[in-house]
Symmetry: C2
Subunit: 333 residues, 2 copies
């Protein structure tokens, strides 16, 4: 279990400074206090030693996503949320949510039983039972990558997909690409619909013709790679944008199997900057969602709902990350 000494070593300050900061002493600067508290949360320093008010309880409900392993997509999201919530005096429980649990009890009842004042909902899909509850629930809920139109007690946080695709298509245009395809998840989730539309809008914005036959969408990665990828290759696309890094990674592998070199024959761009994306062969050019910042946005949105400010959506800036999977379009001889 991490100790005060671990925090002191990590920040290069004395143990007594850490101790004073955790006890909110007046002779430690606010900036240093903040860094010490953030580090305490980051390394998992036992939370009941950090001053808190037991009536202030929030939860992070995570589904379909690893958050306990540093390579998991949810890990930094959870840390980012806690780094703001814990120093503000909140006790935060992170709970692995399942469909079964949702079927047993309604969202509002679950929140009431556990005395949670608000929830950050991560990794839910449209088929989750509570997605219906959120339309009329009373307890504030902030949903990562899901949007509930009807209920002002809910808010949506995510990355600005339009900005992300704009940067990706501008990059491909600058490399001479003109025939740019899109492969993505099925159009049954909020985030895949948003990214598909972002691809279409951005192609139009950059002066390219919109050709829906250059797109393929499926829930199954294998259907994208085995059914749609060959179609796109026959249509001579020189670049493919993918809705997620895991799909982009599979597309790279299948291109190689079909004897297309990435990036010499075809450029591939992902989305998310998942922890593995720096280590694909070649490294994946992608659009980063800063996961720690997403977690912090989750807290900002939730604390605004708790303060009766009905945020509808809060979008984070996208960031373009250029690696080896994109290059200049090949001259046709």
């Amino acid at each position: 279990m991490p100790t005060i000494n671990d925090i002191a070593v990590k920040l290069g300050v004395s143990k007594s400074t850490v101790s004073k900061a955790l006890n909110n002493a007046a002779d430690v600067s606010e900036t240093l206090k903040k860094r010490i508290l953030e580090t305490a949360v980051e390394i998992g320093y036992e939370k009941n030693r950090i001053r808190k008010d037991s009536s202030k309880k929030l939860c992070i409900l995570v589904e379909n996503m690893d958050y306990e392993n540093p390579m998991g997509f949810g890990y930094e999201i959870v840390i980012g949320f806690k780094q703001l919530a814990v120093p503000a005096g909140w006790e935060v429980d992170t709970i692995h949510m399942t469909e079964e649990l949702q079927k047993m009890v309604s969202y509002d009842m679950f929140m009431l039983e556990h005395k949670y004042q608000g929830a950050f909902i991560v990794g839910f899909s449209l088929i989750d039972p509570w997605m219906k509850d959120f339309k009329s629930s009373n307890k504030p809920a902030v949903l990562y990558d899901n949007y509930i139109p009807e209920n002002p007690r809910t808010a949506y946080v995510g990355v600005n997909n339009d900005e992300g695709f704009d940067m990706a298509i501008a990059h491909l245009k600058s490399l001479g690409h003109k025939t740019i395809g899109y492969l993505g998840g099925s159009l049954e989730s909020h985030v895949t619909i948003s990214r598909y539309n972002a691809y279409l809008h951005s192609m139009e914005k950059h002066g390219f013709c919109i050709d829906k036959s250059l797109t393929g969408c499926s829930y199954f990665i294998s259907e994208c790679t085995q059914k749609y990828l060959p179609v796109l290759l026959k249509k001579h696309v020189t670049a493919i944008l993918c809705s997620h890094d895991s799909l982009a990674n599979a597309v790279i592998t299948h291109c190689m199997q079909l004897k297309y070199n990435v990036p010499d024959d075809i450029s591939i761009i992902g989305f998310d900057d998942a922890p593995f994306s720096a280590y694909t062969m070649p490294g994946l050019t992608t659009i980063r969602q800063d996961r720690n910042a997403l977690g912090r946005c989750g807290y900002y949105a939730l604390s605004s709902l708790l303060n009766k400010t009905s945020i509808s959506s809060l979008l984070l800036r996208a960031e373009f990350i250029e690696r080896g999977s994109t290059s200049k379009v090949k001259k046709i001889c």
Copy 2:
């Protein structure tokens, strides 16, 4: 000048409780402290009596908008921002900004000279000289109703225009309207472009044909009412959505002059719920931007930028306000 007594009377608590809360005493609950501080800000209790840190300075820069008069559109925006910022220890200056001042000094230099750590920018238009500065500025800036694509040190706050028009068109559809026109400001500002697109998208979403000949956009209200309104009336629109309440109010007056009764012959809907909109004849059905909440959103977004979380946009929920300017479509005999 407001005193501690004014705060006590307004909240129905004792003067000593107010005094204790302002001095952050331990025996006043956090909830009451918050209400007392918010009320102190609201009624303009002299700010240097509220505990603050002189190194923490923010500014609200307002242009083209009255913020000193309770009937002014900017009044509650400024109050909402301060109600969160002042209790958090910030000193907040509200400054009437002009084009001349912007031409004299760059945004970054202005911020540096006055030791402001961030700014909330209200009422700027695309022609303001600093709109170029914001593309590369270093000091965090949150812009109300303006979006800077390039710079992660800026964020955009506003109301969700799509939600607003969705509610308005659903309302008109439920009243039997089918031929719905749009009048709005010129397509040269971020907010008018966004509202024009929201009208088109929402018409399509509700199964209506998109007919751009039923729309008219101009910087001048008089051009909308004198040039475009007669065209729309000739095309037998039964309802008109307007991009702003001030335009909607002018449209009502001109309809009456042209012997069209509002709402019997034609329904009119505005946007904003400006302070005068409850008092037009008939009262204006409109889409509310909660101005106090917009101010608070401005503070949330700014504090997130100051904490190195690059928010791109933060949109507030829209709220539909039904008054007398809309009714069931008239049966054609």
